[in-house]
Amino acid sequence: MSETITPGKAALFLGYAKIGLLGFGGVAAWARRVIVEERRWLSERDYAEVLGLGQILPGPNVGNAAVMIGRRFHGLSGALLATAGLYAGPLAILIALSLFYDRYGTTPGVAPFMQGVAAAAAGMVIGTAIKMGEKLRPPPELLAVGLLAVAGAAVLRLPLPVVVVTLAPLGVWLSLRRAWKAGAR
């Protein structure tokens, strides 16, 4: 594994700006791509842990992760810069779209090429999850928890808070139990 690199403040802002502006269909896939693969701010495992924490806290996950990652590198200003980077670009685009909506009275239709982009973005999100799972190599019982999360959210379409509140204690307990067993041996 290669070393991680501590970003400067400008790099933190610009990295998050890239995540926001390229985040078609949501920003989860690009966040991992930029933070773990391209800029190497965090290792795969560190990033996954921050994201896991961001998930059980209320609020947008990647937004929560931006606050935590920004803070880790540059304290309060880091948290603000990462958050600003994440939201500034998309907000500008949304303002443009809203002006368009006000003028013409309809939401601009999703152009055909955007349907193709959305299909590819969906695949990007799925590919990212597979890649993370592969690199993190969870023990079998935690892999099962992950698959339960997929089934609960995508197949049964349970509300996400229900999925998280049910599975989080299970995951934490299984993880602690494994560590305890390994320690007892």
Binding site: G20, L22, F24, P58, Y101, P112, T128, I130, L142
Partner: protein
Amino acid sequence: MSEESPLGALVLGFLGISLLSVGGGVAVLPEMQRLVVETHGWMDALGFAKRFALAQAAPGPNIMVVGLIGWHVAGALGMFTAMLAMCGPTSLLAYGVARMRQRLAGRRGLRVAERGLVPIAVGLIAASGVLLAAGTAEGAALPWLALGVTLGSALFVWRSARSPLWVLGFGAIMGALFLR
């Protein structure tokens, strides 16, 4: 319609919802729809669905749908107010937790406990991808082609270290050629 000021209603409404949004901003989409469509009558269900589709198609976090609703209710000020109510307090909470976590750093139990949350985080990413793929295929002129693009893109991103911009570009071309 309620009598209170629209900005106040935006703040109270999205603040309340944000505190429930465990699992991500999109987790509370049904509650959001209830607030916007039923409680305040700011728009109809179709208007809400269109705005969510737009926030999803546009780059950036999907939670930006909140900004679009705010804009509809009270213009630019409404947009910033709604986004701030939705993301501000939860960001403060995340900041506080990050601080606490740093103070507890080195406690082995904490790391181990956190590791138990990782599969849920990854699982929910996968689930959001699957739901996104299903929604896109449903709306596409050629569902199988859309699914094919999704599958190809998943394989590319999983197996290759190249930039995913390649697959987004490929998707755009396929969409322009075949999905009209």
